[in-house]
């Protein structure tokens, strides 16, 4: 089945990962951590104190065993217990304080990183979104950021805290009895080495598992989105087979992960325990020989025990840090992409305008000039350098108030051309002017306020019908505008929905048919009475009756706007005053429908499908 080919290595999130160290990568988080640094550092300090308090407890025990207990002094016992209680309270409260200190700030760091990501993604070029599936972006905005929050909450603090604790603990042990201390220390080196080796191998397997989950998600997504095709061709068994194979592979990787984990845990559990055993035997001999007090042995062993978690945890703390580094990398992969610069052209505009007599963005429209394409050339930024441009040498003038139909064979570049006007893609060279203003000198927001678009693929957002339509208009738009737009688009069905125009649609609401969505998208395009209107095959999903009704209503709208309409059919072409024929990325002819029908064989072929033109 097709879907099995969704190979991991090629998806965009695996582009040239340089061998930067995990630490260097994690340092990039600093700007987000900076605002909460005081709390974070305080929390770490608190945690260190708390951990050290825990290490003092065995010393109190020693004092009790060797002092009051040995001396049969009940009052001393009470005192010791009181010390223990105080230490215990201190430890508990300090650990609580640590969590309290970081809880809100870290949730804040996560949220601000997410908000930044969202804000940044909204402003990245459309070409970027063409390249990146939304699932990949989402996983950065959710899982990766949660990993980072957890990293800041635990591994970052506890790598420090545990190191200090281990150091202090080891010093305490060495001070009490240096031979026993050395015995306890023996496994430290092999455990660390195992951890480091494990961490590397585990990270690579874990990354593979992550990627395989991504592939699995792709199959799930496609099998849901393409359900009609799968059912229509009875392919659900082969689809299930593809899914099974992928999930088996994932299971294999997960088991490999488990094997690595089991090994490391085996080592981490066994070695320190062996050392403790050796220390116990040695200690017993020393106690028997009178070289060591019983209290010291008890204290020593409970210190060793208290150090167990800090040592054991280093392995998974490092693994978590590694994962956090990967997450940081993935996050900045996206954040490092440069956005459409919204401000720069605004600031640059005067200079640019001065250099070009045709444009002067600061004055109100000097004259009605309509839409002009000057020698426009366009090549998709991700297309190979040597490929022919998608659009080349486009010169076209749509006069003010005029409607121009754009006709061309499938794949001739019509949709691409329409995307250039609101600057969803940037021209590779040449200029497009609206009423004499170069669109590259206009701030995008003002440009897009001038130009309204209805896309071939009608997208509705999770909001009410009214919101979806009115987002095409300025803030002042209200009920009358909505009604007018719905009437133009023949979208009266909106009133018969369960809650009328307040009905929620989109992913979170009612699902509408293709024709219904197309009509709402059209209503959205016309609701703001835009100065310039771009319609990409706006009537393809409508039946003949509705299409005729929409056309009749559109005529009034088109009379007062300058429009570019991609058309496949004569009926749509007839909405326009003139027609431009796009052929292999160039404008081949411009004229009225009838002129072109007579004079241009390709046009005649496109419109009437005449067999003469075919052969």
């Amino acid at each position: 089945m097709v879907t099995t080919r969704a190979t991991a290595e090629e998806s965009p999130d695996r582009t040239d990962r340089t061998g930067r160290s995990a630490v260097r990568t994690l340092l990039r988080l600093w700007p987000y951590v900076r605002p909460v640094r005081v709390r974070l550092f305080t929390a770490a300090a608190v945690a260190i104190v708390a951990s050290c308090l825990a290490l003092v407890i065995p010393l109190v025990l020693k004092w009790m065993v060797d002092g009051p207990v040995a001396d049969r002094d009940p009052a001393g016992v009470w005192l010791g217990a009181l010390y223990l209680l105080l230490l215990g309270f201190g430890e508990a409260l300090l650990f609580g304080l640590r969590r309290w200190l970081v809880a809100r700030p870290l949730a804040g760091v996560e949220a601000s990183m997410r908000a930044d990501l969202y804000r940044h993604l909204q402003r990245l070029p459309v070409a970027f979104h063409d390249r990146w599936p939304s699932g990949q972006l989402l996983s950065r905005g959710t899982t990766d950021l949660m990993l980072l929050r957890m990293f800041l909450a635990f591994p970052l603090t506890f790598l420090l805290v545990n190191s200090v604790t281990i150091l202090v603990g080891v010093i305490i042990m060495l001070l009490q009895d240096w031979t026993l201390g050395l015995v306890i220390l023996i496994p430290a080196v092999p455990v660390m080495v195992t951890c480091v080796v494990f961490e590397k191998r585990y990270a690579s397997v874990a990354r593979r598992a992550q990627d395989q989950v991504g592939d699995l998600t792709t199959v799930v997504e496609e099998s849901v989105l393409g359900i009609r095709i799968i059912k229509g061709f009875g392919r659900h068994r082969s689809q299930a087979r593809a899914f099974r194979e992928l999930s088996r592979t994932l299971r294999g990787t997960e088991l490999r992960k488990a094997r690595l984990l089991a090994t490391i845990w085996g080592v981490i559990v066994t070695l320190p325990e062996l050392a403790t055993g050796a220390a116990l035997v040695l200690g017993t001999v020393q106690v028997a020989d009178g070289e060591l007090s019983a209290g010291t042995l008890v204290a020593f062993l409970s210190t060793a025990l208290a150090l167990r978690w800090p040592v054991d945890s280093i392995g998974f703390l490092l693994a978590m840090s590694q994962e956090a580094a990967t997450a940081t990398e993935r996050y900045f992969e996206v954040m490092d992409e440069s956005p459409e610069t919204d401000e720069t052209p605004e600031r640059d505009a005067p200079q640019r305008g001065a250099g070009n007599c045709a444009t002067s963005p600061h004055k109100p429209a000097p004259h009605n000039d309509g839409i002009r394409f000057h020698n426009v050339r366009f090549r998709y930024p991700d297309a190979p350098e040597d490929s022919p441009p998608t659009l080349d040498n486009i010169n076209l003038h749509i006069r003010p108030g005029e409607s121009m139909a754009l006709v061309g064979a499938t794949g001739s570049g019509k949709t691409t051309l329409t995307a250039l006007v609101p600057r969803l893609h940037e021209v590779t060279s040449g200029r497009i002017t609206l009423d004499g203003h170069d669109i590259s000198a206009l701030p995008r927001t003002s440009l897009r306020a001038l130009v309204a678009v209805a896309f071939e693929e009608p997208t509705l957002f999770s909001a009410s019908v009214a919101d979806n339509v009115l987002m095409g208009a300025g803030d002042g738009a209200g009920e009358p505008d909505l009604e007018r737009a719905l009437a133009v688009a023949q979208a009266g069905f909106a009133h018969t929905l369960p809650h009328g125009t307040a009905t929620q649609v989109g992913e979170q609401g009612l699902s509408l048919s293709g024709g219904q969505r197309q009509r709402l998208a059209l209503a959205r395009a016309v609701v703001g009475r835009p100065r310039f209107l771009v319609l990409d095959d706006p009537l393809s999903a409508l039946d003949v009756h509705t299409e005729a009704a929409v056309e009749a209503a559109l005529r009034d709208v088109l009379a007062e706007t300058t429009a570019l309409i991609v058309a496949h059919r004569p009926s749509t072409v007839l909405l326009a005053d003139r027609v431009a024929l796009l052929s292999e990325g160039r404008i081949a002819a411009v004229g009225t429908h009838h002129e072109l029908l007579r004079a241009n064989a390709e046009y005649a072929h496109l419109m009437a499908g005449t067999e003469e033109a075919d052969r």
Partner: protein, 622 residues
């Protein structure tokens, strides 16, 4: 959104719903994220997932029991060393000391080895459970009929099989082992303490009561916070995905700032509940630590008092102290377990709700066979026998419907939106089953045909031409997976798709999701056509299959159709009447009924609706 409230008052009151165009009610459970789950379905699902693993779960538990035994033996050996080995050694008896050494060695090795075995085995169990669950969700979603998919949005279905499975994975991977370890070590250590000294043990056991109360309180409070949090993050995700998928309209309609504001609201809500959850955890940690440390102090006090009084051995006190550390260590982890349990339970319930949906178009238990073809032509006869169809939620789309299409006939169906054309097509493709009556293919009820047999019989091409990731050739080959490259290219040539495919960077091997793989809506429809041709079915249904094609594209398709459809039974639904020209017969539908039926020539010559439509369409071509 800002301009939302500009709707007429009263329109949003549920009581005044006009009959909706769609078969929906305002309280449709499909509008919510959670499908109705029959009581006990979640538990039953969990049971059925674990049932095949019974033996392995038992072995895993046993391993954990042994492992804990080995780990918890340590303090006992310490007590023995202090109380027995020390005095014995003083009397030059090395026996007890060697016993301690060997015992500790064995315990260390055993606990390491058992830990290793346990992790491996439990990972195997977990992965098998997940494999099973993933497969079940996937197969079930695929088996559910189209009416389900039309109501349950794709995003929800996708998150059922991704994030929801993932949260169960977290529970299995970390949570369960954690829980069992915690319970086991509580039981072991309490038992050991009681055995060492009844009094000290009793104090330790008593301390479990306030701990239990703390855990219970935390569980309740956390459940509330976590529910709010998961709703909050879900809202963030929806907004995120929707923005990214609709980036063009977002840009074109300058929604960035408004979206930023909306997102900030949602994100802040999540941030707040996220902080609440973390603080809840902090409270729990403080509480449990306080109880634990107080208990340690109390036990030490009493123990030391008794050692001082000579009624307790020093070694026992040492062992008790060592045990206590271990007893209270896992309490924090218990909190984490509760977290993953909370979210896994919620996820599992959603999954159970999905799995509880029954396919309304089930596969036959004992499939029938289509009879051998009467002639050398591929076509088969189609009969709608007293078919009635209505949506489950009410609203009849097809009242009683009878229709016979002889083998090899090409039938065009026209009519306005909502006339029932697509329903007719979906019944014939068995995307739906009729509420009443039968749809027969060469006399066999479609419901008796197994899927492969059915799809050799009927194939449908729809307006939305979805492409799967993979190459163009692979996408065409969905029609017939065993087709050769020549056959694939032939199908593409026949439909007029060869030229554009050859001009793609890698021709037929171009990956549709990769660089240079931009394929327009019209081109996608051509690929979908080629796919259908390759499938070579007896009955071909084309539902608005040419809507995005330009006129020459449509012409080419029609040209191909006249040869391809020859001898096949075909149902063509199109708004454009150009398609009708190749039909042998035209049906005009209205309100689920056939109002006109005849050859195109007859109808055009007549005075009915079709003649009107045809005239209007002719005019539009002028």
């Amino acid at each position: 959104m800002t301009a939302t409230t500009a709707t007429a008052p009263g329109k949003d009151q549920p009581g005044e719903d006009p009959p909706a165009a769609e078969p929906r009610t305002p309280d449709d459970p499909f509008d919510r994220d959670v499908l109705p789950t029959p009581p006990g379905a979640t538990a039953a699902l969990l049971r059925s997932l674990l049932a095949p693993m019974k033996a392995r779960v038992a072995v895993t538990t046993l391993l954990l029991l042994l492992q804990q035994a080995a780990v918890q033996a340590g303090p006992l050996l310490v007590a023995y060393a202090i109380d027995s080995a020390v005095p014995a050694f003083r009397h030059s008896d090395l026996g007890p000391l060697i016993a301690v050494g060997v015992g500790y060695l064995l315990c260390a090795l055993a606990s390491g080895a058992l830990q290793y075995a346990f992790i491996l085995l439990s990972a195997r169990v977990n992965q098998d459970v997940l494999l099973d669950l993933r497969g079940r969700i996937f197969r079930h979603a695929q088996a559910l009929s189209l009416d389900f998919h039309e109501r349950y949005t794709s995003g929800r279905l996708i998150s059922r099989s991704t994030t929801d499975v993932e949260s169960l994975r977290e529970l299995l991977d970390e949570g369960l082992q954690e829980l069992v370890t915690v319970i086991l070590s509580f039981v072991y250590i309490s038992a050991m303490l009681l055995w060492l000294d009844l009094g000290l043990g009793a104090v330790a056991v008593a301390s479990l009561v306030p701990l239990y109360l703390l855990v219970r309180r935390y569980r309740r409070r956390a459940a509330r916070v976590y529910t709010v949090r998961s709703t909050a993050i879900a809202a963030v995700i929806v907004k995120f995905v929707e923005t990214m998928n609709g980036i063009r309209p977002v840009r074109a309609f300058r929604r960035e700032a408004a979206n930023d504001a909306d997102f900030r609201t949602l994100n802040t809500r999540h941030e707040r509940t996220n902080g609440d959850a973390l603080l809840e955890m902090a409270q729990y940690v403080v509480g449990s630590r306080l109880v634990a440390n107080t208990a340690v102090a109390a036990i030490v006090l009493w123990g030391a008092y008794r050692v001082a009084g000579g009624t307790l051995a020093l070694g026992v006190l040492a062992a008790a102290v060592l045990f206590l550390r271990r007893l209270y260590d896992p309490i924090d982890r218990l909190g984490m377990f509760l977290n993953s349990y909370q979210s896994a339970a919620a996820s599992l319930e959603k999954i159970a709700g999905l799995l509880a949906q029954t396919p309304t178009v089930p596969e036959p238990a004992t499939p029938g066979q289509l009879p051998a073809r009467a002639s050398e032509h591929p076509g088969r006869e189609v009969v709608f026998d007293g078919v009635r169809f209505g949506y489950r939620t009410g609203g009849e789309v097809l009242p009683r419907f009878d229709l016979t299409m002889p083998a090899g006939q090409t039938v065009a169906v026209v009519g306005s939106t909502g006339a029932g054309k697509s329903t007719l097509a979906k019944l014939l493709a068995r995307f739906y089953d009729p509420s009443d009556g039968r749809v027969l293919l060469d006399g066999v009820d479609l419901r008796e045909l197994a899927v492969p047999e059915l799809r050799r019989g009927v194939v449908m091409v729809t307006q939305e031409a979805f492409l799967f990731s993979g190459t163009v050739a692979e996408n065409i080959a969905i029609g017939r997976p065993d087709a050769t490259r020549e056959e694939i290219e032939q199908a593409a040539k026949a439909i007029g798709a060869h030229d554009f495919i050859s001009s793609l960077p890698d021709g037929y091997d171009t990956d549709v999701r990769k660089r240079g793989g931009r394929i327009s809506a019209g081109q996608r429809q051509l690929v979908a056509f080629a796919r259908a041709l390759l499938a070579d079915p007896a009955v071909l249904i084309l539902d608005e299959a040419t809507s995005s094609l330009d006129v020459p594209g449509e012409r080419a398709v029609q040209h191909a159709m006249s040869t391809v459809l020859h001898g096949r039974t075909a149902v063509v639904i199109a708004h454009r009447l150009s398609t009708v020209e190749i039909a042998d017969r035209v049906l005009v539908m209205e309100d689920g009924k056939i109002v006109e039926d005849g050859t195109p020539a007859e109808l055009v010559a007549g005075t009915g609706r079709f003649a009107d439509l045809h005239r209007a369409w002719r005019d539009s071509l002028a």
